[in-house]
Amino acid sequence: MKTVNAQGMPCPLPLVMTRKALETLEKGESLEILIDSENARNNVTRFLQDHQMTVQTSQDGKMYRLLVEQPLKMGEDVRPEDYCTT
């Protein structure tokens, strides 16, 4: 299992870290994301669901643990040059 510890990270860094982790998953590897902000939890959950992933959430004090047992591997190598308009 791969773990993203996004506790204390300002938005939208938890989502950026999650997106990055989705690029480097091994086949069959699950993904765990630790977040301590409700907004970040909502946004990351929505992003994962929008990409057809099922998210299980548990809470321990102020920390949320999002678990994706069957994550979708996302494309690698997002390069700034590919998006330059000038």
């Binding site: 300002p10 938005c11 939208p12 860094l13 989502l15 950026v16 870290m17 999650t18 997106r19 990055k20 907004n39 970040a40 909502n42 946004n43 929505r46 992003f47 929008d50 990409h51 997002v78 390069r79 700034p80 590919d82 998006y83 330059c84 308009t85 000038t86």
Partner: protein, 345 residues
């Protein structure tokens, strides 16, 4: 002079600080109205400003807008907040007349910074040919700044968000993506040049667009702010009883925005706007997730979304470019009301 970096407040700043549109609608739903025969634009259509006729040939436009800082520099923040507040009058086709400051300031923070914010506001008010009449200040934990603005217009020339006609062409006068670049800047992923470009766009008054709209007989427009392109387009569709179609690949976008969105740098306000448009929007299967989220991105001091009769659209775009909005583009069209208010094609 003592400096004061406002960036610690910027995470929830600008128009992304708006209450979510869905929540606002719930709050407003059961409140009593104050109907009046001279109230030409009220709260029902969620327009940019209210309009009250005071003579057969004269109506007052009134609006207010304020928010927490969007950037570190107080003078720049003041200019952006004032530009944004004035924009609501221009979106209605009016001429701004007078303004009042609205200020919240934390006790004990350097007053020199507050002075810079106000100086920025006055700078823009002067540029707009508007009279600054005074204002009101309170103590608050988070700084906030904006204006209440009064403008005028001939009642026959009012531009509302409720007059879109099937067949109209949709024109947007500024690129979008301010929310994404501001978020990218906060996490160190946007370049200084990308950030500066967005600041300059947010400081550009929409004033010069007004005469172009009137020249081509535009009756329907709105400015793009916190509810994003999709949210404001949907409000326009609802108020006008039409369906609006947007083609994301035609939408002008700031350099760096699509890269940031792909990276996962999607501000929370974009998700709130996605919740708002919800099932009233359909996204074509070929539209990428990033393009969809681009249309949800909360804008601060954005451009005007204009419904133009098709025979004038090309010329209107050219005149907007000449008027100082070089990225103006046709981004969609209006069709008869279907089952949905907004189509992203």
């Amino acid at each position: 002079m003592e400096t004061f970096d406002l960036s610690e407040y910027a995470a929830g700043g600008g128009c992304s600080a708006k209450l979510p549109a869905a929540e606002l609608q719930r709050v407003m739903a059961d409140l009593p109205c104050t109907p009046h025969p001279d109230l030409l634009v009220g709260t029902e259509t969620h327009d940019d400003a209210g309009v009250l006729r005071i003579r057969d040939d004269l109506a007052l436009i009134q609006t207010t807008d304020f928010f927490p800082p969007v950037c570190a520099d107080p003078f720049t923040f003041g200019q952006i907040a004032a530009t944004n507040a004035l924009s609501d009058v221009y979106a209605m086709g009016g001429e701004a007349l007078s303004a009042l400051n609205i200020v919240a300031w934390p006790a004990g923070k350097p007053l020199t910074a507050l002075r810079e914010i106000l100086r920025g506001g006055i700078e823009k008010v002067k540029e707009a040919g508007v009279v600054m009449m005074g204002g009101h200040t309170i103590q608050d934990k988070i700084p906030k700044y904006g204006l209440a603005v009064t403008g005028t217009i001939h009642p026959d020339h009012i531009i509302t968000n409720a007059a879109a006609q099937p067949g109209d062409i949709l024109v947007l006068t500024k690129p979008i993506g301010t929310g994404t670049i501001l978020a990218g800047h906060r996490i160190g992923e946007a370049s200084p040049q990308q950030y500066q470009t967005v600041l300059e766009s947010m400081m550009q008054l929409n004033r010069n667009a007004v005469s172009v709209m009137h020249y081509y007989g535009v009756k329907c427009a709105t400015d793009i702010t916190g509810f994003g392109l999709a949210g404001h387009a949907l409000k326009m569709a609802g108020a006008s009883g039409v369906t609006v179609q947007i083609y994301p690949e035609k939408v002008p976008v700031f350099d760096g925005v699509m890269y940031l969105l792909k990276l996962g740098c999607i501000p929370g306000a974009a998700f709130r706007n996605l919740d708002f448009v919800g099932e009233q929007m359909e996204c074509a299967s070929g539209v990428s997730y990033e393009s969809k989220m681009l249309t949800m991105d909360a804008q601060t001091s954005g451009g005007l979304l204009i419904c133009c009769p098709p025979e004038h659209a090309g010329q209107l775009v050219q005149d907007m470019i000449r008027a100082g909005f070089p990225h103006t583009a046709i981004i969609g069209d209006v069709t008869a009301s279907g089952s949905l208010g907004l189509m992203i094609c």
